[in-house]
């Protein structure tokens, strides 16, 4: 039975993990997302559902624990924030290469380096282009509310197992730390051992005598086989791009100017839309839900229809804006606005940027 | 018999009222003030200044290093 609660984004993520039937969480504390493991430890999911929660010695250990458990067919996740996510890049590349399903969250803070612990969206490139090595992609979901922090855990696991791919919930300090009401989805039971063996024949759960052994690896010393493997990965990414794009259009029907934004910036931009409309400016919001796959097709399609410009609004020096540019292929004006380094822009600033960079510019 | 007298000066605005100095004093000189400083902390002061022997114990354990100690041989 679903349940209405007031929760922090980080807590909702944690609670949703239990409800989504996760088998394990491995993590290492870091602001602004330590509530995830704190909530889990306080909730004793080992008593509630049998879910394992382990505080690892480091982010690297955590992501490799995820690798092991995921390779054994379990629903597992980790979470961290920017510097910790950078440390996980090798592990994520391995998970992508070995085609393991898993979920992880980055509650982004301002960088680079140790930076600040305040919200930021400057890990977009790392998330969508691959911060690790090699040609791999991951599905990136960008929640803009506490509700989505919960729902995307369930959806993220579904996608992860559907495509055997790492799924990243790219959040930020605002969404992680804020409280909102959240309608928690009904608990989904954890799979039984037998169900796992049946559903995931690739998983290393101990080979039945006389059957083929299962191997989880990202290695192939034969370049031809490695190329084939890469082709397979690319085909999967193509399929995902065709099928799994998600976005939300707000006040776009008659809009002449479009804010493109995700996560907390999308909420701010939504208020900027209101302010703009109040001033008679026909603004709309293209809210990205999946950052990979990027809704390039829809965006390109829109730009034929009377749109005079796109303003990419992100708390970074300009990262997502590149994907907007690539999507519209020069057929419309595209500019970037965003504050960064831990500063969250205001709706007023966003509107002003629209007026200056797009309308007036 | 040589007698010593000491005195401490607490940097009131930097004192955090943690009380760590209090048990460190062999002669129970220090107490926290009823008043608070700008940060809202009850700060340390010499409640019994006569008793101070200038041993520096309080200053040595003060985490914030806000105590200066003086001593004279009488």
């Amino acid at each position: 039975m679903s349940e209405l609660k007031l929760m922090k984004g980080n807590e909702a993520l944690a609670e949703a993990a239990i409800r989504a039937g996760a088998d394990a969480y491995f993590g290492y504390p870091i602001t602004p997302q330590s509530e995830v493991i704190e909530y889990l430890m306080a909730e004793k999911p080992f008593d509630r559902t049998g879910m394992v929660v382990l505080q690892a010695e480091s982010e690297i250990a955590a992501i490799n624990m995820v690798y092991g458990a995921a390779g054994a067919g379990k629903k597992v996740m980790t979470s961290s924030s920017s510097p910790g996510i950078s440390l996980k890049q090798e592990g994520i590349s391995y998970i992508a290469g070995a085609e393991l399903p898993c979920l992880y969250a980055n509650v982004v803070r301002g960088g680079p380096g140790l930076g600040t612990i305040q919200p930021s969206q400057a890990d977009y490139f790392q998330s969508t282009k691959g911060g690790g090595h090699g040609d791999y992609r991951q599905i990136v979901l960008a929640p803009a509310s506490v509700q989505e922090m919960a729902d995307f855990v369930r959806d993220g696991f579904d996608l992860a197992f559907k495509y055997r791919i790492p799924v990243l919930i790219l959040s930020d300090g605002v969404i992680g730390q804020m409280m909102e009401k959240v309608d928690l989805f009904d608990p989904i039971p954890r799979l039984t051992d037998d169900e796992i063996n049946e559903k995931y024949p690739w998983a290393t759960t101990g080979k039945k005598s006389g059957t083929e052994r299962r191997i989880i690896t990202s290695l192939d010393l034969d370049s031809h086989k490695m190329e084939e493997h890469n082709h397979k990965l690319q085909a999967k990414y193509k399929e995902i791009t065709e099928k799994e794009v998600r976005y939300e259009l707000i006040d776009c029907d008659d809009a002449e100017y479009i804010f493109v934004a995700y996560g907390s910036s999308a909420r701010i931009a939504q208020k900027a839309v209101k302010l703009a409309r109040a001033k008679g400016i026909k603004a709309g919001l293209f809210r990205l839900i999946t950052l990979f796959p990027f809704p390039s097709v829809k965006m390109f399609e829109m730009c034929g229809k009377g749109i005079k410009g796109f303003l990419a609004v992100e708390m970074s020096a300009g990262q997502m804006v590149e994907d907007v540019r690539l999507a519209v292929k020069g057929c419309s004006k595209v500019e970037h606005y965003g504050r960064y380094g831990g500063i969250v822009h205001t709706p007023e600033e966003v509107l002003e940027a629209l007026e200056q960079k797009i309308i007036g510019g | 018999m040589a007698k010593v007298r000491g005195a401490i000066v607490v940097d009131v605005e930097k004192c955090k009222g943690c009380e760590v100095c209090i048990p460190a004093c062999p002669t129970d000189v220090i107490a926290l003030a009823k008043e608070v400083n700008g940060k809202g902390y009850h700060y340390a002061y010499m409640e019994d200044p006569e008793a101070c022997i200038g041993c520096s114990n309080c200053a040595i354990v003060c985490p914030d290093g806000v105590i200066t100690v003086y001593k004279v041989k009488l």
């Binding site: 209405l4 804020m178 907390s264 909420r267 939504q270 | -």
Partner: protein, 184 residues
């Protein structure tokens, strides 16, 4: 109706939980709410503040720089947030420990001596509930019954016996709020 509020003071005053109870109360009457704390090392014994929005509509940005109302509980917060109150908006504060009182002429200003009242009630922990009561007197954004339901929701079961005490504190606040400056 949309109320955009900041509550600011220092750690230990119950700033965050006051905001949480208010937000829960909003939920109880089917409103949209958001609660956004400032976080970080400055919280450690230092300042703590939270912005709360209660609204009939979907809330866009939870981050505020301008507020309909401000509840201010120490001098540092006064210095930081007085200027952020929207012209015509409301500032409520506890004068205890305040050395520089608000100076704005274009806002409504109220006082509640919550620290003193809580001490008089024999429990400094209900300080924040006294403040909440005062605030609700000025800005009845949520009904009292919903505040009680909100309290129930936000307190763990084992603390429910404290709800009457909290209710008393809220009432104490309701009764003791003083208008310092009312526009019009």
């Amino acid at each position: 109706m949309t109320e955009e509020l900041i509550i600011a003071g220092f750690g230990g005053q119950g700033v965050l939980s006051m905001g949480k109870i208010l937000a829960y109360s909003g939920i109880m009457q089917d409103q949209e709410v958001s609660w956004m704390p400032s976080y970080g090392p400055e919280m450690r014994g230092g300042t703590a503040n939270v912005t709360v929005i209660v609204s009939d509509e979907r809330i866009s940005s939870p981050i505020l720089t301008i507020f309909d109302s401000a509840i201010i509980l120490n001098q540092q917060s006064m210095d930081k947030f007085e200027s952020g109150v929207r012209p015509g908006g409301t500032l409520l504060y506890d004068p205890n420990g305040i050395t520089r009182h608000p100076e704005r002429k274009d806002i409504n200003i109220f006082q509640v001596e919550a620290a003193r009242l809580a001490a008089e009630m024999g429990n400094t922990k209900i300080f924040n509930m006294v403040v909440l009561g005062a605030y609700l007197k000025i800005k009845p954004v949520v009904k009292m019954e919903n505040v009680i339901r909100g309290l129930k929701k936000s307190l763990p079961e084992r603390y429910h016996k404290l709800i009457p005490l909290n209710e008393d504190a809220i009432n104490m606040g309701l009764k003791n709020v003083i208008a310092v400056q009312e526009l019009q």
